[in-house]
Symmetry: C2
Subunit: 410 residues, 2 copies
């Protein structure tokens, strides 16, 4: 038998995905599983956008241009303008979801062996794209005790080595739900400029900032050569399966490289682009209603978690995730146990173990991520499960108590 | 300004794509351009498949499973059975077009520095995927003089080094139009087994074999551990923009690795899969009519080329391409000249310079690829242009005459 590649054998696999078969087995036994483990929202995709696909009159489904439909790219200029960004359509390249945007950023800007600084916890799949491109992740730990605030500029600076080529953040943040301020971003921008780094910002949750106005790094005129924004319609229009994202940059060298990679894979998907282009005609009321719905869910899930014994969490102000520190020995073990050994009223809840969001070994063992992508009534039942589970779990271990500045419940 | 990556800067770019701006400029001047340069067919996508997308009743467009819709994978088992392959749906992973299938094959089976043997001329974008994955292409030249027949097993064997990990062929072949026989494939299979290699076969043109019955490598029971078939709905259902392909293998180690890469990018496109699944219900008469149409076009384009002075070509029996050796100094120069300096009846023709299909420097300078993806009446006008152009072209250089076994016109 021929020997498969070492890189394939050693490739990153998500600890969250490992739980999938256990969830399937639980369902096969008739157990209902509340999926708070993945950001696949239950919100309806805008009817107008679905209609655009249903009304598509084409008789042939041809390749689109590698950079995406020109009409869509032109229309996106207006969308970003609403966030203060002054773009030309040539600054925008359509990608197969944000996933491809991240991969293209890595390949276009960084060489194997280069380092990228990412504050942890971070979206686990960044590991995969850095692995594929041979880029080394250097991490700074933010912690639940201060609400996962962005580490200080000083802490970023301390991580810089001759191989550092980029800083990479997600704003609003998955998995922490933090929304970064203009000032915090500007402070990072100074480091980026001073050290001639790239500044990758994953803004796929850009519409989901609940208390503060979201500030896009595309507004920093002095960072135009450095900034690469990764975006997607997946979350904001509940269209994860459309596979349509965008990579935005004002740096022509980056765009030239990204375009090469875009040409390799010929084109982004046709119908996804038809849908995505139509989302730009969707009335603002859609997103406002969706935001209100998420606020309701967030407030509810937070209030339930806050009442549970020995659970530490802060109310997040963006995206649709909440991280909670819970009294368990090991989040991977606990999340598996929920599926294999626990049930309450013939149901259980599926969560994401937070250890997958940390690069530092051992971190996140008492943390889980909950995606509030289901309605309040469903979350209620899921929280009932969790509450009972935490009492029954044999590996219960008190959470470390930490002195804090008042944002935490103990 | 931050310095972009060396790998991005040095990345492969297709010599065919370079011509795009010249075509745009020609059109802007009011010149009509006949596109015989790219395999983007003018054949209608089956109505039944388009209807499936139009009738899609979903209110949300969620991620599909990373491996693709299970229902689609199960249905594909029946499709491949028609070609003699005995598969389980678990042997099939849905990809973003064949492009992603090739990339996943490289990453999953080969390490950087490994060698893959590919007979040339070959589909230019293989270069790109080998570049991205750091895989070295070792090539054996097949030539127009014997109709680009598959080089002998002996020639393949002579290329094997300790780093050789795979043989990669396209059957039916793009750009040559050759269809390989069971015996030729079996001979390669022996080498594959003897040397414990992977056997990558791009079968995206599997439906387009005109004189002989197409034989899939999936039929070789003794090669199950070695074979990876790359497939796509793009060409056979004229749905290049659907971005739906498949990677097929019976080797569990390969599938396990491919699945990791599939998980990184979350899922293939939703609507593309809706369309692709529906194509499996399309009546056989669709593909039979399409084949008849291509045969008509092939016979016509061949008859025209064969009549042109000093043009060498063989009638291909598969795919929808024909390579011709024409009396010019340099195919890149000539194809550019057609767009920038030539016109006949306010029109010109766009072709693909064959040098892009060779890895050996200097090869293909007198060859061009013509994609017969347009109707006979349009091809007629395009051939009128080419006939006049070859007379007017200032770099006219006689084609080398070669003694042959009678398949050539001189």
């Amino acid at each position: 038998m021929p020997i498969i590649s070492r890189r394939g054998k050693d490739a990153y696999t998500s600890p969250i995905r490992h739980l999938g078969p256990y969830a399937d087995a639980a369902k096969a036994k008739g157990k209902h599983v509340y999926h708070l483990n993945i950001g696949n929202p239950d919100i309806n995709t805008p009817t107008l956008a679905l209609e655009a696909v249903r009304n598509a009159a084409e008789k042939i489904v041809p390749y689109s241009p590698s950079k995406g439909f020109t009409s869509y790219r032109k229309k996106l200029v207006g969308y970003y303008k609403k966030f203060g960004a002054d773009l030309s359509y040539e600054d925008i390249i359509i990608t197969n979801g944000a996933s491809e945007g991240i991969l293209f950023s890595m390949f276009s800007c960084l060489d194997a062996g280069d380092e990228v600084i990412i504050p942890e916890p971070f979206y686990a799949i960044y590991n995969a794209f850095c692995y594929v491109s041979g880029v080394k992740i250097v991490t700074i730990t933010s912690s639940i005790e201060n609400g996962y605030a962005l580490p200080s500029a000083k802490e970023f600076e301390a991580c810089i080595t001759p191989r550092t080529k980029a800083i990479f953040i997600c704003n609003p943040n998955n998995p922490t739900g933090c929304v970064y301020t203009k000032e915090e971003l500007a402070a990072l921008g100074e480091i980026v400029k001073k050290n001639d780094l790239f500044f990758f910002v994953d803004e796929v949750y850009r519409e989901f900032s609940y208390e503060d106005k979201f500030y896009s790094v595309l507004n920093f005129k002095d960072l135009e050569d450095h900034v690469v924004v990764i975006d997607s319609v997946s979350k904001r229009f509940s269209a994860c399966g459309a596979r349509v994202g965008a990579l935005v940059s004002k740096n022509p060298n980056i765009l030239e490289n990204v375009n090469k990679y875009a040409e390799f894979r010929l084109s982004p998907p046709h119908f996804g682009q038809v849908l995505a282009e139509a989302t730009l005609d969707v009335d603002e009321s859609y997103i406002n209603e969706v935001k209100l719905e998420y606020v309701k869910r967030r407030d509810y899930i937070y209030s339930r978690l806050a009442k549970m014994d020995d659970v530490i969490c802060k109310k997040p102000n963006g995206a649709f995730y909440i991280l909670a520190k819970i009294p368990i020995d090991d989040s991977v073990k606990f999340c598996k146990w929920l599926l294999t050994d626990f049930e309450y009223k013939k149901s259980t809840v599926m969560l994401a173990p937070a250890s997958g969001f940390y690069a530092t070994p051992g971190k996140g063992k008492q943390e889980v991520r909950l995606a509030y992508v289901l309605g309040v009534e469903t979350i209620e039942k899921a929280m009932d499960c969790l509450e009972v589970a935490l009492k029954e779990y044999p590996g219960r271990t008190p959470t470390e108590k930490v002195v804090t500045n008042g944002v935490l419940k103990h």
